[in-house]
Amino acid sequence: MSKENNMNPDKVSINLIPKSSDPEVKFINDALKGSKEAFRRIFDDNVSKVYSVCFRFTADYDLAKELTQEVFITAWKKLTSFRYECRFSTWLHSIAVNQFLMHERTSKRIIAGREEYSKQRRHYVDQNNDDLNIDLQNAIMKLPDQAKAVLILHDVEGFMHNEIAEIMNIKTGTSKAHLHRARKLLREELKK
């Protein structure tokens, strides 16, 4: 560590940011400097994943788009607080989960959303004629919010428990317990 860095507190804190050749790091730095194109690249690289998880949470196309939009706006606002302590996509997922949980807590659209879902369900049946998937998606929607989020992140999106713990700010053991409960409830729901 050079003497110069020790004397300048700002430089010391900057040292925490990895000097990486990863283009994502460059895009983030450029976005912070005001580059719209750089943020667009970040958006393009992650929007599908974010939308996918939002759709799984809500089973509502429009609501998923709305949440995706909110995730990226929030990500922009908080971009200066991203400390490279986890993958950027993990960080975005944590924003998505928080957006969803906040939405479920505050919005009265839950019931409306579920009604809308049943309409969409008919649409799926017409299009795909796949009753099992519809039942499964329907059963997922009936899970408690936290358990649903863990199930989707783990079993659908493929995150590991330690990543889910980071995303949802819970302990790894709690994540495992949520998953176990979610799978049990899902099976019981599918039996009906």
């Binding site: 922009w76 499964l136 428990h161």
Partner: protein
């Protein structure tokens, strides 16, 4: 009732193990426990089957729905970009810089005279400093200067570390007498100018103190710190702990102190001298030393030392076990324990005879550069001991390097074998042997696109990374072979048994038929005999009746019929033994 509760508890535990198995993170013992339980528990078997089905369906679900159209993507981007001010972050930075710049401009324009006063103060300050400068303190940190309080830099790495129980900013400073505390999630980094840094782990308290020789050092009251220092200009960095001081000139080590003040120092690189009132310990890389509050420092030992050796060493240092423990130590000492033995040689606790024995033992493993006479052992120079320790370390490192290279070669070979074997038999791996795959029509085989499949079994998972892989593989092969062998032998035995049974059955059947035939013949003969007798009797009666009715006196006693005819006897009972006798 209690049994039911116990069963529920066990099944609950097994279900969690099944989850871990699917995750690919189960230990070997847990896996065996799970498989044994599943074999006898239909409920858990069902749980496994249903979970696999659900996962398979969830995986299909993921690939079918939830994709975003390009036009939707564009719409979302437009909405996002409309609501974002892209110069927001850069403006803040510029604004901060401008504020700073404006402050300096005002300062220059309106308060120029202040510079003059400042210059005078500076000159006085330098004069005072030079006058009071103690040049003997040259070995101290560069941050200590001019007899004024020195500030060391502290950086908050994670959470909210505190300085003097007040929240610190992301980059702060600490001076003599102040302390840093971290809670269960906080981490702080203390920068030591030109030497290195100390990472203060969660739940720790570190105080910046003035050492006995007027140099600044840190004191770890409790918790854990990791130090990383460079061997720049041969200055020692000191860390005080209850009852000892750790000192090193480059390298890294971890130090942990519990709430009772007892501690442990683990040296990762370089060498650490731990000084205490009872003795000094020389701890090279790969060694660990314990400290006891009020007693001082113990004897260092290698990470690979045997538990018996460590136990004896601990009792020798901090218990009342002297000769008995020393015998165990000497008897159990291996190459890697040479550092411990030299440290005992360096201490004053061991008697001369013991020191001689220790010297001979270590010298047999690695001789010192200059042999020492037994009478001089008491006056062994500490520097010579350090050189001896360095030689031992080099030898251990060379041996270790060789072993590691061999291990890597073997591991890479096993990894290839295991991966091949694993994917060939993936389904047998996570299901019990007697699990019936035909019961799961949805998952008949490992899917062709198993790489995208939810259960990923990569060789870098925590489970497949060691010797355990090889053992597990060999065990599985053996089990399969034994199972095949057993099945064949059992089948042969069963076939033979069946053959015998069939033969016996045939024999019995024949005997039975023969017996029945004999019986039948006898019965027929008996019936025939009876019939003959009956006919005779009938004829006789008829004849006798006729003569009696027509002419009782003309009885022809000489007739042919009467010559041979006797009075018929009553028919005999069949010659069949009574039931009771048969039985």
């Amino acid at each position: 009732m209690n049994e039911e509760i116990n069963k529920e508890n066990i099944c609950g535990e097994i279900e969690l193990l099944i989850d871990e198995q699917i995750e690919g993170m189960i230990s070997l013992s847990d896996k065996q426990k799970m498989e044994i339980h599943i074999a006898d528990c239909p409920g858990c078997k069902e749980y496994l089957k249903k979970t696999l089905e659900t996962l398979y369906n969830l995986d299909k679900l993921n690939s079918k729905y939830g994709s975003l159209q390009k036009s939707d993507q564009e719409n979302i981007w437009e909405n996002v970009s409309d609501k974002i001010n892209f110069s927001e972050h850069s403006d803040k930075i510029i604004s901060q810089n401008e504020n700073t710049a404006n402050t300096y401009t005002i300062f220059r324009k309106k308060y120029v005279w202040i510079s003059g006063i400042a210059a005078v103060i500076a000159i006085l300050f330098i004069f005072y400093a030079v006058k009071n400068w103690d040049f003997r303190q040259g070995n101290d940190s560069l941050q200590y200067s001019f007899g004024l309080p020195t500030y060391w830099k502290v950086v908050s790495v994670k959470g909210s570390p505190k300085i003097n129980d007040m929240n610190m900013v992301s980059s702060d400073s600490i001076k003599e007498g102040q302390w840093i505390t971290t809670d269960s999630v906080s981490i702080a980094e203390l920068i030591i100018a030109d030497i290195g840094k100390v990472t203060i782990e969660p739940d720790s308290k570190v105080i910046l103190v003035k050492g006995a020789d007027s140099t600044r050092q840190i004191f770890v009251e409790y918790g854990m710190v990791n130090t990383e220092t460079q061997n720049g200009d041969n200055r020692a960095f000191k860390v005080g702990i209850p009852s000892a001081v750790a000192e090193n000139k480059g390298g890294s080590y971890s130090l942990k102190i519990d709430k009772n003040g007892d501690g442990m120092i683990v040296v990762k690189s370089g060498k650490v001298d731990v000084l205490s009132t009872n003795k000094n310990a020389i701890v090279p890389a790969g060694n660990i030393v314990m400290t006891k509050n009020g007693l001082g420092v113990g004897t260092p030992f290698n990470e690979q030392s045997s538990p018996g050796f460590k136990n004896a060493l601990f009792n020798y240092d901090f218990g009342n076990c002297n000769d008995a423990c020393m015998n165990i130590i000497i008897d159990n000492a291996k190459m890697t324990d040479a550092v411990s033995l030299i440290n005992i040689l360096n201490g004053s606790k061991a008697v001369n005879e013991t020191k001689e024995e220790i010297y001979n033992k270590v010298a047999n493993l690695i001789p010192p550069r200059a042999p020492v006479h037994k009478d001089s052992l008491e006056f062994f120079d500490e520097k010579e001991l350090e050189i001896w320790i360095d030689d031992i370390q080099k030898k251990i490192e060379t041996d270790l390097k060789g072993s590691l290279e061999r291990l890597e070669e073997n591991l890479s070979k096993y990894k290839d074998d295991m991966e091949k074997f694993y994917f060939d038999s993936a389904k047998f791996y996570f299901l019990p042997e007697n699990f019936d795959f035909t019961e799961i029509p949805e998952v008949p085989e490992v899917p062709e696109d198993y790489e995208n499949y939810k259960f990923k079994y990569s060789s870098d998972s925590a489970y497949f990374n060691s010797e355990e892989m090889k053992k597990e593989m060999e065990k599985m092969k053996k089990e399969i072979d034994e199972s095949n062998k057993f099945n064949k032998e059992e089948l042969d035995r069963e076939m033979e048994q069946m053959d015998k049974e069939l033969k016996e059955l045939n024999k019995k059947l024949k005997e039975n038929i023969y017996f029945n035939n004999e019986e039948f013949k006898k019965e027929m003969e008996r019936v025939k005999e009876e019939m003959k007798r009956s006919v005779k009797e009938y004829k006789f009666n008829e004849k006798y009746k006729f003569n009696e009715d027509d002419n009782k006196d003309n009885t022809d006693y000489n007739s042919k019929d009467t010559e041979n005819s006797d009075i018929p006897e009553a028919p005999k009972e069949p010659d069949i033994p009574p039931d009771g006798e048969n039985k």
